[in-house]
Structure formats: C-alpha cells, structure tokens
C-alpha cells in the first residue's frame, strides 16, 4: 500500500488553526491513499466549483468490509474532478467517543462533507447536527443516526430485509420439522446488530418450528465466538443450525463446528465475506452468507455527497439500498459474486 503525503496549502493550513490540528490532520491522512490536489480557490453560487474535500469515516478501520468501503469511496472520488477523500477511523467499532472526536476534528478542519457510518445512532446524531449547522453535506453509509435528518441520506444494506432472506433460506432447508437454532449476535444495542436480529426474529415468528435455544454474543471477537459456540454445542448437542450476525461470529462458529466434527450437520448461516468465511462456504461448513456491497456504499456515498456539494441547496438526496446477495456453494464462483467479493475500481460490483 503506497502512502502519499498530502500537501497542505498555506490557506488551508491557516484554516487548520494551529499545529496541533495540523498534526492531527497529517496523522489522520497517513496510511491512506489520498489524492494530491492543489487548492485553487473556493466555490460560489448554488454549488461549489472548486476542489472538494470529503472525510470518509467507517465504524472502524481495518476490517475487510470497511476496506471495501474505502476502495469504493476512492474509486468514486477518482471519477470526479477535484474530489479528494480523506479516510480515517477508530480501531474499534465500540469506540463511540473516539469516532465523535474524529468527526469533530474533520469538521474543525473544514472538510466539505462527511461520509460516515455511525457507531452509535443517538450519540452521532449530535455530530451530524453540528456538521449540518456548519453547512457540511452529510451522507451516512451502512448505519445512520437516530433521528435521521431528512437531508441526510443513508446508503446501506437493508439489514432487516437481508436478515429475513437468509433466515428464510434456513427455514426452507430445515423443512417442516424445523429444529433448534442458536444465534450469535455481536454487539446488542448497535443498529447493525439489532436490525440483523430483527429480520431474523421476524422470520422465526412466522416459523414456530424453528426453536431458538441460545443467544450468546461474540463481542466481535473470534476467540469468544469459538468459546460460546463450543459451550452452546455442549448445552445443546442436538442443535441444527446457527445464525451468526457478523464475521468473527461466523468464523468462530465455523471453527467450533469443525472441531466438533459436525461440519455440514450443523448448518451455519451468517453475515460478511472474509476470505475464510468464503472458504468455509466452499468447504461446506457454512451454508450461506449475506454479502453486502460495501464497495457500493463507499462509491454511492461519495457520489451522493459530491452531487449535493456541486449541485447546491436544490439537490435533494434519497436513501439508497445497496442490496444484499446470498452467497452459497452454488453461486460462489460466478463472476458477479467474485466482483462483489473482490471489488476494484476496474471491476466494480455495480
């Protein structure tokens, strides 16, 4: 990964308001792939003509999912004139105050827009409000705020619908007799977790033959997921299926089932598409995965923000469902799925 140093114009530097912030800004950009742009005057009229600086902030940096958001965001930026994306995030999705601080730093730095995923719907609403007051354009990706201001669109997977779809797959596979099911959420209280729970439970309600016998959080930690699944298997040796709401949960559950010698017998359904998850699908340990389109979240998120900044007040943005694909052994090698799993600007999953 190449790192390009961002040059800061004098005017821009003054706007940063001091060396501390300048330091923070430089640190913030290190490790990303920002575009080098010279500042050449501001915009005017209805929309801004000059260069646009957008901060794109995931819930946490690092995870495969957010990496693809980054690729999508940078891809979108590269297709516009004078749009520069600054990518930065906290290291843990639970670090709400860290994200608040980070976003406030970006607001202080005077970026033109924020494209971000809220780690906490209620808390981050305050930041959104503050940014709107200062005239910034905001687009939420993946997770929005509560309340969601009408001028702030959400570019995200419809988690409830996707969760319902995969749970229906499970119900279909288990048939009329149904069976015992375990659920591994990752962070009760977060929007993503709770919407994925909602869709799942909705389908359970319609299918009383599905018996939810255990709910244990993985805390987004694979070792924890492994341990709780081990224990669930002990408590319920006749378990039929597991629904895991994110990557560490799926991988931990898959590991536990594999170790118990129950591969293919205990059916695993889950979310996300880390390489070992996809491999587990190919190996038959995991039956199906919900693949979101994080590339498109980043891509559409940046595009929407640019549209509004360039177009001015008159432009009204709408929320976008970026869709979900159920990945199974049958479709995993198809080109569209491969594009989704390994997105790039050359081969975008759009």
């Amino acid at each position: 990964m190449s790192v390009t140093k961002r040059r800061v114009s004098r005017k821009e530097f003054l706007r940063l308001g001091g060396t501390g912030l300048a330091g923070a800004a430089l640190l913030g950009t290190a490790g990303c792939q920002p575009k080098v742009r010279q500042s050449s005057g501001g915009g005017g009229g209805a929309g801004q003509k000059g260069p646009i600086r957008l901060a794109v902030v995931p819930k946490a940096v690092g995870f495969a999912f957010w990496e693809q958001v980054r690729i999508g965001a940078e891809c979108a930026a590269s297709k516009h004139e004078d749009v520069q994306v600054q990518w930065d995030g906290v290291t843990s999705e639970t670090d709400v105050s860290g994200q608040v601080n980070l976003l406030q730093n970006f607001i202080t730095q005077g970026v033109d827009g924020l494209v971000y995923a809220a780690t906490d719907a209620k808390v981050l609403y305050q930041v959104t409000k503050q940014a709107l007051d200062q005239g910034l354009v905001i687009v939420n990706i993946d997770s929005g705020t509560d309340p969601q201001p009408k001028q702030v669109p959400v570019v995200a997977t419809d988690n409830v619908a996707a969760a319902a779809r995969i749970t229906k797959l499970m119900a279909k596979r288990l048939g009329k007799e149904g069976g015992k099911i375990a659920f591994i959420p990752f962070q009760p209280g977060t929007e993503t977790n709770d919407t994925r729970t909602e869709g799942f439970k909705n389908v359970l309600k319609q299918n009383p033959q599905l018996d939810l016998v255990a709910t244990q959080s993985s805390e987004s930690n694979q070792n924890t997921a492994l341990q709780v699944t081990n224990d669930i298997l002990t408590a319920h040796p006749d378990l039929n299926a597991i629904y895991a709401a994110n990557e560490p949960g799926v991988l931990g559950a898959a590991e536990a089932v594999r170790q118990a010698g129950e591969s293919g017998k205990i059916l695993i359904y889950g979310w996300d598409t880390a390489s070992d998850e996809v491999k587990a699908v190919k190996d038959g340990v995991v039956v199906a995965l919900v693949a979101q389109n994080p590339f498109r979240m980043g891509y559409d998120g940046v595009n929407e923000a640019v549209k509004k900044i360039r177009g001015g007040e008159s432009v009204e943005l709408k929320s976008i469902d970026t869709g979900a694909t159920m990945i199974t052994k049958d479709n995993v090698n198809e080109p569209e799925v491969q594009a989704l799993l390994h997105p790039s600007c050359k081969n975008p999953p759009l």
């Binding site: 690092g62 990496e67 959080s217 492994l226 709780v228 081990n230 408590a235 991988l251 491999k279």
Partner: protein
C-alpha cells in the same frame, strides 16, 4: 531470656503456617467449588467430558498469560500490556508461518520472542528509566496494539498450516494439548516462584523494594527479567489463542489484561506486591472461565457475566482482606 520454643510449639506453628498458606487460596477455591456444584445441578451437560474439555481449553491462554501477570504483580508491579502483546505475538507468529513459510514450531517461538521483546521494553522502562509500571505497560498496551494494526490494517490473517492447530486444538491420548501446556507452564511457574532466586527476589522486591536492594539483590536485572517473562507468556498465550481459531487476530485480547489481573487477584495476589501464587491464579482463571461457560450453558446474557465476574472479584478480595486482618489481629 532463654525460653526456646518447644518442639510442640514448633510443630504446631509449622502446621498453622502451612494452613494459612492454603487458606489464602481458600476464598477463590471455595467460590470455584460453589460455582462448580451449582452448575453441576443447574445444567445437565455441565459435567460432560466434552464440556470440561471445553472449559480447560478455553481457560488455557488466559491461564498462561495470568501466570506471567502474577509474577509481575508479586513484584508490586502490573502488566496492562498483555492483551495487546498477545495479539501482536499471535499475528506475528501466524504471519511467519502463513506468509513467510517459517516452520510452525519456529514461528511459535517467533511469536513468543516478540512477546518477550515487548516485555523487555516494559522491564527496561520500569527498572532503568524508572517509569511507574502502570504507565510503562499502559504505553505498551497502546504501542503493541498499534503495531499489530499497522501492517494488518486490523484484518485477520488466515492461511495457517493445519499442524499449527495442534497447539490450541490437539489432543495427546485424551488430554487436550492446551491443558498440557497450561500444566507445564504452571509447574514451571510454581518452581520459579518457590524454588529459584528469581521467585524469591520477586516476593522480596514486592514486599520491600528497599530492603531487597540493601540485601544486595540486583533489582534492575531481576525486575527486567520478570517483565520479559510476562511478555513471553503473553506471546505464548497469543499463539495458543491464534491456534484455536487458526488465524491471527489483530483484535484479540482487548480487555484480556483485566481477566489476567482478575485471575491473579481472585487467586490471592496483592496489587501491593509480595503476595500471589500460581495455584491461586489458576483457580482464579478457572473460576472466570467457569462463570463464562456456565453463563452460556444457562444462556445468560453476556453482560450479566461481566457483572458476575466483577462481583466475584470484590467478594474474593474482600474475603482475603478480612482473613488477613483477622490473622494479623490474632497475633
């Protein structure tokens, strides 16, 4: 004055002394037994071989790491960095075997060495630079976590050879390898504490740093070694955890230092130094694991588990203090 203690007195004293040593772990052991009995009744599968196996395996890395932390706590220090160091070591070890093609055993050693190196930095900061152990290891907590995120971008590292799974998942006969590993580390830890100068000096430094120095103990050297051991065991724990999930997890071990410290404290270690045993720490680690395991078997919400563990820490330490005070007063 020539009232030399009679033989009876001496024998009685020794017996009492032995008892008081055992009693110091009774609080934790008692709680362990209570939880064990409760779970045996509450859950039909609790006593199954599979479940006991699981508990053993689940405790393994926490126990290994907690033994190192106990050694540090005995010197009146603290090691907050073990969770981060375990993650760094685990990832480096996995990268070595999965990406660099280093043989598994050497890669595991590599991971342990990384932990030891972090421990060395901690040790030098504490003993030579004179930083407070809390500060020195708090810094390392952040540095090591950052160092594991930088190259991995916080992404898990996959692709380990199957033989690596043996460390965390294998069995010899019917005994899980991670349990054998814990037993070996525990016995070694016990011997170090009870039968080597290092152990003796750890207690002495923790009990009274200045008295130890004036007794000619090379404080800096031994203190540094203590942190190196803690780091190395954190690294080893990280390798075990990586083996259990067959991948390197940059997010592994967040908050693990608290589990390790809790295990040591529940087991009778004093944060003021001079007290702590391997057996006590093992009991503490198993108690925490039992609570976690039982909570899942009974399908208790994970957040309640945290409350329960916190309460257990309070009770164990309060009981321990009460016991010590009584002992001191009755003298």
């Amino acid at each position: 004055m020539s009232s030399t203690a009679t033989t009876e007195e001496r024998a009685g004293g020794t017996l009492r002394e032995r008892l008081s040593g055992v009693i110091s772990q009774l609080a934790a052991a008692g709680a362990l037994i209570v939880v064990f009995v409760f779970l045996s009744i509450a859950s039909p599968v609790f006593l199954s071989a599979d479940n006991l196996y699981n508990i053993g395996v689940q405790t393994s890395y926490t126990a290994v790491i907690a033994i190192g932390v106990t050694l540090v706590i005995i010197t009146a220090g603290i090691d907050l960095s073990v969770g981060s160091v375990a993650a760094l070591s685990g990832v480096v070890g996995v990268v070595l075997m999965a990406k660099a093609g280093v043989p598994v055993v050497l890669a595991i050693l590599g991971g342990i060495l990384v932990g030891a190196a972090c421990g060395l930095v901690n040790g030098l900061l504490v003993s030579v630079a004179g930083l407070n152990p809390f500060i020195a290891t708090l810094g390392m907590l952040s540095v090591a976590r950052g160092m594991v995120y930088i190259p991995t971008n916080a992404k898990s590292v996959f692709g380990v050879p199957d033989s690596f799974r043996l460390l965390g998942q294998g069995v010899i006969g019917s005994i899980p390898i991670p349990i054998i590993v814990v037993a070996v580390v525990a016995v070694a830890g016990y011997v170090v504490l009870a039968r080597t100068k290092l152990g003796r000096y750890a207690y002495a430094m923790g009990s009274n740093r200045e008295a130890a120095r004036l007794s000619g103990i090379p404080i800096r050297r031994y203190l540094t070694v203590v942190y190196v051991i803690s780091g190395a065991l954190a690294g080893f724990g990280g390798m075990i955890a990586s083996s259990q999930v067959a991948s390197g997890q940059p997010n592994f071990g967040i908050g693990l230092e608290l589990d390790a410290i809790a295990a040591a404290v529940i087991g009778g270690a004093s944060l003021f130094g001079g007290q702590g045993t391997v057996v006590g720490t093992l009991i503490g680690a198993f108690l925490i694991a039992l609570i976690r395991n039982g909570s899942v078997l009974l399908d208790v919400n994970i957040y309640y588990q945290q409350v329960i563990i916190g309460v257990v820490i309070w009770v164990a330490v309060l009981w321990d203090q009460y016991r010590r005070r009584r002992l001191a007063v009755s003298e």
